[in-house]
């Protein structure tokens, strides 16, 4: 919630409401933005417990190559996670603009495992149905053929031409192995993500 105090006295504007004075505005922030213990527990369970270690220095955002090209701000996302702003997090596109390059993790003075936290937040978002349409084909490929990309006729020819078997000796070559993988994917609920 961004708060702008227009002058030393007079109305104070938040992203939603206008308040008579700053004290009233701060009171609303303190009472309306409640700690979200369910979210905190959920995030911790998924490997994001150390988000509380972040002291908002901003080294992550300053170093982030994605932030230089998009509106993704690592520090802001960490703060949103600390405040338990789940609805805002799961719905924001920027959550998916991290390339997981680990520059922020390497340079964080508090050794916050930022990428693990981003992954945990994405898991929470996906579990609530927030998945990019462009990501569905990759998930479907894993579920149907056990690989992230499809097998094309072109690559079969190219493989053959250089003395490799047309199909690599992976789950692609063994339907029993693929059936095993499918069982694992189903047992961990991946079928629900694909559908």
């Amino acid at each position: 919630m961004s708060v702008i105090r227009k002058a030393n006295t007079g109305p104070v504007v938040s992203s939603v409401f206008i308040y008579d004075d700053l004290d009233e505005c701060l009171q609303v922030i303190l009472t309306e933005i409640k700690a979200n213990p369910e979210f905190e527990a959920q995030l911790a369970k998924m490997g994001g417990a150390d988000v509380k270690m972040c002291f908002q220095c901003g080294t992550c955002t300053a170093d982030c190559p994605s932030g230089r090209r998009t509106s993704y701000r690592v520090r802001k996302l960490m703060r949103m996670a600390q405040l338990g702003l789940k609805d805002e997090i799961v719905d924001c596109e920027e959550l998916w603009e991290c390339t997981t390059c680990y520059t922020c993790v390497e340079r964080c003075p508090r050794q916050v495992p930022i990428v693990d936290i981003v992954i945990a937040l994405r898991n929470i978002a996906v579990a609530e149905g927030h998945m990019l349409a462009n990501h569905k084909p990759t998930a479907t490929n894993l579920y149907t053929i056990g690989h992230a990309v499809t097998v094309t006729d072109k690559v079969k020819e190219q493989r053959k031409a250089i003395g490799l078997p047309e199909i690599p000796p992976t789950v692609l070559m063994n339907s029993n192995a693929m059936a095993d993988l499918t069982k694992i994917l189903k047992a961990t609920g991946f079928d629900k993500i694909v559908e």
């Binding site: 998916w96 680990y102 094309t152 690559v155 250089i162 003395g163």
Partner: protein, 281 residues
Amino acid sequence: MAKYAFFLGCIAPLRYPGVEKSTRVVCEKLGIELVELDDASCCPAPGVIRAFSRTTWLAAAARNLALAEAKGLPIVTICNGCYGSLFDAAHELNNDAEELAKVNKVLAEINMEYKGTTQVYHFAEVLYKEVGVEKIKAAVTNPFEHNVAAFYGCHFLKPSKIKDLEDPEDAHMLEALIEATGAKCMPRKQPMLCCGAGGGVRAGFSDVAKEFTKTNLENIQASSANYIVDICPFCHMQFDSVQKDLGFSIPVLHLCQVYGIAMGMSEEELGFSAHVVPVKL
């Protein structure tokens, strides 16, 4: 003789088969025995599948690790993504009995168990530490005397806290491996900048991914490098597939292909027909 289970992954065998082929030939020449890791699947991809469901990612990765464990072999990968995924999963499972027990409950559905013993290595690490630069130099019959850009990618060295290979802010391993062929690695701005493809960004926001690649290409061109040499088929695909749109044409080679050239493989065998940016040696 060093012996490894060869983890193929997805992009090398299914988009750039020349990378797989050259790995097989080069390993034979360098005395590394590659054993097929039959029935393996996608690692699964750390930026997308792990972002969708950590539970699925860890269980499917554990299945791959268990396949190698059954052979009593460490895994070698030729992809930073597979390395990131399998190394992270092994790091977690081999050191956390509780997580291992949880994953084994899932694996029990297919009568499989992972005991937590598989070690995972990147091909570049094996070359540098086990084979050694001197032995590689001795195997070169056709020096690759070109100015090149060494492209580490992100998940080979990072996160350095668990990978512990080299300081990612001051790395030299890849340059030493490339220069063993007679090539010269040209210094450039932002050598560790991500290619842009990872974390599901290539699939999710291809224009954002391209912006990363564009900066890299500008820096590479300014350094007078004539080739990009990578150690990750996913970076490889990103560089190879977007250059045309961005108005660049710098050939992209995986380290295994550079070694293949330097050790006398034919152009046909190196699979350049799969490349978008033409490779003319």
